[in-house]
């Protein structure tokens, strides 16, 4: 078990070093990256089985006491989300290998190793048991994302990269100031100890800390009104990079919020967070409706969907938090697939702009199907995973009562999501094929790899729908232990 936790964090870092050393040998370089990402993903799947069977497992790094050293905690919540995240990165890297010979590819010498570092940061963020290591994990993710976003160095990327970098640097600074506040109030940064000590603080100090971290994690997660950096920067990166960012990065913010705000019992912030959630859902989807580029539409949907996850969390009930966790599991693969399909559209049409594409369904029916499944899932149409996840969140809200405004907002946002998905469908897959020169698409072998990777990912989203019952049970169990942190505290301090 200790080995599994270490592999998930260290293997991608080793792979990053190897692939940098092998950068002039493309085959070995890609092999190193795939091996690192693959072994981390495999370890996380075994970890889920082990944690579901034996319960939470803790590693005290270097053998220090939890008050002094770093602890890594694999509880059910972390073990549920980690395999989804790591598998997505692995599949996206396969897609990237197919995309290498097109003009939209990222520079493989840099993007491979950086993706590995980002993976390691994601594992660390999910598994860490203290607030400062969470900050370090965020920095690991962000630093690699800054370079991934801007490494091609063209005008658009530098422009949007600046907004992204400055916004996230500011959020990181606020995070660090928050750590200082927490430390001076409680004398610890260990989450288990915080779960004991923060609820005993004065209401003012406690809520101040909660609101502060709401802003910090909210900026990372792109909730209203802190979202403006996201639709600006995501569409300019190469598709594979955007797929990873959209699938994972904002979700790490939501994950941290679910963990921190539940463990420290910030229930009083619930009404405020519900209003933020409702606004995020509606504003995000309205932004999507105004756009005319596939990647920009999808970027605004990232924001809108974050609202649903925040909504489940802000109910502060077991059912609500379980709904949020299930929504995370549903949303990460669906969003990544949609961006991968955006990459396929670019490959076949020469652009992801709605005005410059049309009639793709006739020429590439497979791509059309691979868009339709996750798009319907995103809009929450049964029998896809989005329906199950939305049902879980909305029924939890109705059960708690007094949330009619948020429920209405969720339903309206769902309808508008369907509207903007059908806009993509009408413009790109139906309609007249556009005139004018198309750049030559990827060679057949590269295209096969890209299609296979996307198909695997689509199959993954269907699996989430198929096993929704089991996943909801596991999510409920994870939510129960988050709502009642006694088991978590006991696992960290036996």
């Amino acid at each position: 078990m200790t080995e599994l936790i270490s592999i998930a964090i260290v293997a991608p870092l080793v792979a990053a070093a190897c692939s940098l050393a092998l950068r002039s040998r493309p085959f070995l370089r890609d092999l190193a990256v795939l091996a690192g990402l693959g072994s981390a993903a495999l370890a996380s799947h075994i970890m889920l089985v082990a944690v579901a069977r034996d319960g939470t497992h803790t590693v005290a790094v270097g053998g220090w006491a939890p008050e002094l050293g770093i602890v890594l905690v694999a509880d059910l919540f972390a073990a549920l989300i980690l395999p989804v995240a790591l598998t997505i990165i692995f599949v996206v890297e396969i897609f990237a290998i197919g995309q290498r010979r097109t003009v939209w590819a990222a520079n493989p010498q840099l993007s491979g190793p950086l993706l590995c570092v980002l993976t390691s940061g994601v594992s660390l963020a999910f598994l860490t048991g203290d607030l400062f290591t969470l900050f370090v994990a965020f920095e690991l993710i962000l630093v690699s994302s800054y370079v991934l976003l801007t490494h091609q160095g063209n005008r658009d990327q530098v422009r949007s990269g600046m907004t992204y970098v400055v916004m996230n640097l500011l959020a990181s600074t606020l995070f660090l100031l928050g750590v200082a506040f927490v430390y001076s109030a409680t004398n610890t940064v260990n989450m288990a100890l915080l779960a004991e000590r923060i609820p005993q603080l004065d209401t003012g100090v406690r809520l101040g800390i909660g609101a502060w971290f709401l802003v910090v994690f909210g900026t990372k997660a792109a909730v209203f009104p802190l979202f403006s950096w996201l639709p600006d920067s995501y569409p300019t990166a190469p598709t594979t990079i955007t797929a990873v960012f959209a699938g994972l990065l904002t979700k790490v913010g939501i994950y941290s919020m679910i963990r921190f705000h539940n463990l420290t019992a910030m229930d009083d912030l619930g009404p405020l967070m519900l209003m933020v959630a409702a606004t995020t859902m509606v504003v995000g989807v309205l932004g999507a409706l105004a756009q005319s580029d596939v990647k920009r539409i999808l970027s605004f949907h990232v924001i809108s969907q974050i609202g649903y996850m925040l909504m489940g969390l802000s109910l502060f009930t077991v059912a609500g938090v379980a709904g949020s966790i299930l929504f995370l599991i549903h949303h990460m693969p669906v969003k990544a697939v949609l961006f991968l399909v955006g990459g396929l559209i670019e490959n076949h049409e020469g652009s992801s702009s709605l005005d410059r594409s049309g009639g793709l369904a006739g020429r590439q029916p497979l791509v059309a199907v691979m868009f339709a499944v996750p798009a319907l899932s995103l809009a929450g149409i049964p029998p896809f995973s989005g329906f199950v996840a939305k049902l879980a969140v909305i029924s939890a809200a109705i059960d708690r009562g007094g949330t009619i405004v948020v429920v209405v907002a969720a339903l309206v946002a769902g309808g508008l999501t369907l509207l903007s998905m059908s806009k993509i469908w009408n413009e790109v897959f139906w309609g007249r094929p556009t005139e004018g020169p198309r750049p030559s698409p990827a060679p057949a072998r590269g295209q096969r790899t890209m299609h296979t990777a996307t198909a695997i990912a689509v199959a993954g989203t269907l699996m989430v729908a198929l096993f929704a019952g089991t996943l909801l049970d596991l999510s409920t169990e994870a939510a129960e232990s988050l709502r009642n942190p006694a088991t978590y505290i006991e696992a960290v301090r036996p």
């Binding site: 630093v143 005008r155 400055v166 200082a180």
Partner: protein, 128 residues
């Protein structure tokens, strides 16, 4: 809690935030460094009163300063140093591409907002 340190944190944060909200990247870099200093001072202030160096054998444990915030501070300093360099590299790249280091608006946003809704645009262009 040391009042002078708190005032220093407040002052550094205020000036840093003011600089970061500017359009020029060189100002943002300066603002970010000040914000970095503010967090470092805040972390040190959170560690409690000053004391002897926390090295085993050199002083009684009761007389030592709290070593944990110092460890956190070192990590924070390294990270903010690296990121300042990255920001400078970005500013230089922007200068080679556009000739200045100003953060630009999103072109797609402007296109969707339409020409009528941007009263400040002409003045902006006249100024640059």
């Amino acid at each position: 809690m040391n009042g002078a340190l708190l005032i220093a944190v407040g002052g550094l944060t205020a000036v840093g935030l003011y600089l970061v909200t500017g359009r020029s990247l060189s100002r943002i870099v300066l603002g970010y460094s000040l914000l970095g200093h503010a967090t470092v001072v805040a972390l040190i202030a959170a560690g409690g009163p000053a004391g002897r160096p926390p090295i085993a054998g050199q002083a009684e444990p009761e007389a030592m300063a709290n070593p944990l915030p110092q460890a956190l501070t070192l990590t924070a300093i390294v990270i903010s140093f690296g990121l300042t360099l990255f920001l400078l590299a970005l500013a230089r790249r922007q200068r080679t591409i556009t000739g200045d280091d100003l953060v630009e608006d999103d072109l797609e946003d402007r296109r969707i907002a339409g020409p009528d809704s941007l009263p400040g645009e002409q003045e902006d262009q006249a100024a640059t």
